[in-house]
Amino acid sequence: MRRTAPLVVTFVVGVIMVGEYFIPHYRYRMITAELIEWGLVLAAAAFVLGLINLVQVNLPKVIRREQDWAYKLVMLIALVCTITAGALGGKDRLGDGQIYKWIFDFLFTPLNATMFSLLAFYIASAAFRAFRARNVDAALLLGAAVVVMIARVPIGESIPVIGDYLPKIMNWIMDVPNIAARRAIFIGAALGAVATGLRVILGIERSHLGSDG
């Protein structure tokens, strides 16, 4: 029963949700809309569990003064402050002069932007490693990357003789081999996704329940 019940629920709900694509009748869509809403409610309720997990994982480390406990303390203080500010602010928490909005605008947004901006440096370091011409494949990658990079910057077009051709070569690389490879990945992934979905719905795949099913 411990195994059968989840398999039956998965099969029934899976078939109903797949059916949505082929059965346009509004009465059927009312059923699927209801199921989706149940899912949303469950996902929202999981936030409370996530919050509990966050405290369960980090608070003991602060109490035991484990490595980098101070960062976890900052995180827990930020968590309490943000929840308190949001709760006190209520519906108007995003209004001007609200503490919650201040936290969002002057702490969260700059920190978010800082993390995102790190990407530029990581791209540079990863590209440096990826573009070493160790074999034919890597050399092709390097060649294509150099052409695309130079053609994308204004200085590329001002290079004598080849400057006029660079954008055309770049467009060809982006539109022909690049798109072809991407489409191959998309088609393969889509078929893989269908197969995975069906494996779960039909109960062939039971890894999530323990493999001995």
Binding site: G50, S125, V194, E205, G210
Partner: protein, 403 residues
């Protein structure tokens, strides 16, 4: 002077209403839409600057405004009669009128500017402009979308499902199923072994998308196999989650994996962690885990976005063995550049079957391979036929709207 006279003439002219209004339910429709079409009046684009669509549940009204300021030249409109039939039940009939909006006419001024009043707006339009006579429309719902493309897709899914069950049955009867070697998947077990030898944990990141995303589902299936192997090797596993519901499912999956491996006591719920549902806060938190807990093996399997390279480069600096897998084409180059092994697209969906060595699962890969062959043949044949002017195969793969 002439311009002034023309402007005066235009503003005084009474715009004629459209003619020939028809209201029909669209084919293959779920019953919530009605298609309106009308013939344009002669002064369309001149005295008539546009059109408004009014709807009522009774011929006499009251009418409500459902579309305002459709530009001149518009002669069709699809109206969704109710957005949610659970709240606003669908009726048998709806009445429509189309209003010709006059060029230069004064705009409607509602009694309360902060509260839209579609009924008062419609009433004002009917008293100010010319409108068609009321025309009735009856929504009609169909149960099955009978468009060729959708029927074809339905048949394909049915065939895949049938083939899966067929091959699963044959595998259960003992038939050997060949599956090609995928180095990236072999490396997962090697990576777990390495972590065990080094006495350091394995970090598993199931992407940052919601649970209903198929890549996250595939990742949860892989996590089941990974956690079982980790438990068998008696290594440590840290799962870093961005979505709370994903953490809850991951927690259950890891628990089941440890239980299945015969080491339920080794399972620690604090190792399946919710970090943050914000993308870069999650990235910062996971980077912190990589820096502090120094996992020997990092597995990034699921749907990733801009955080992919930040995570993978941090793992590279930490000298972890890194195996990534995603069907997100834009992130694949980053993983290829920064990770030791990358599972591309469909390989992600084959990992669970490959790792399990379960004949039923492995055999299911064969079913999807047959469909892949079918799609490739259709692609080649479709290209050839389309070049020759025959579009039948293209129509077979054209879905159109879903209704």
């Amino acid at each position: 002077m002439t311009t002034l006279l023309i402007h005066l003439w235009v503003s005084l002219a009474v715009a004629a209403p459209p003619t020939g209004l028809t209201v029909e339910p669209p084919p293959h429709n779920g019953g919530l839409n009605l298609d309106l079409s009308w013939e344009l009046p002669e002064d369309d684009g001149g005295a008539v600057s546009g059109y408004a669509v009014l709807r009522a549940t009774d011929e006499a009204g009251p009418y409500v405004l459902v579309a305002d300021a459709l530009p001149a030249g518009t002669h069709t409109f699809r109206d969704k009669v109710t957005t949610d039939p659970r709240v606003d039940p669908l009726l048998d009939t709806y009445w429509y009128r189309i209003v010709s909006l006059e060029l230069g006419a004064a705009p409607f001024v509602p009694a309360d500017p902060d509260t839209p009043d579609p009924e008062a707006h419609a009433s004002w339009m009917l008293s100010s402009f010319a409108a068609t006579a009321p025309v009735v429309g009856q929504p009609r719902a169909v149960w099955i979308n009978t468009r060729l493309g959708w029927l074809h897709l339905m048949a394909l899914i049915g065939v895949v499902g049938g083939l899966m069950l067929y091959y699963a049955r044959r595998a259960q009867q003992g038939e050997e199923i060949f599956i090609r070697r995928i180095p990236g998947i072999d490396a997962i077990e090697e990576g777990i072994g390495r972590a065990t030898e080094m006495g350091r944990p394995v970090l598993y990141v199931p992407g940052i998308d919601e649970l209903q995303d198929i890549q996250t589902i595939a990742s949860m299936l892989i996590l089941g196999q990974v956690s079982e192997t980790v438990a068998e090797y008696q290594a440590d596993l840290i799962v870093s989650c961005c979505i709370p519901i994903v953490r809850e499912v991951a927690d259950e999956v890891v628990k089941a994996g440890f239980y299945q491996a015969g080491h339920p006591d080794a399972y620690n719920p604090a190792d399946v962690r919710f970090i943050s549902s914000e993308q870069f806060a999650f990235t910062a938190g996971t980077n912190g885990i990589i820096h502090r807990e120094k996992p020997a093996t990092n597995l990034y399997l699921g749907r990733f976005f801009a955080e992919s390279l930040i995570l993978a480069e941090t793992g590279f600096v930490n000298r972890s063995i890194q195996i990534a897998g995603t069907a997100e084409a834009t992130q694949l180059p980053f993983f290829v550049a920064a990770c030791d092994y990358t599972l591309i697209g469909e390989e992600l969906f084959a990992v669970s079957a490959y790792l399990s060595r379960d004949p039923r699962l492995v055999s299911s890969l064969k079913a999807s391979d047959f469909i892949k062959i079918y799609v490739v043949v259709c692609l080649l044949l479709g290209t050839l036929l389309n070049t020759l002017g025959y579009t039948y195969l293209v129509q077979l793969f054209t879905l159109g709207e879903g209704g």
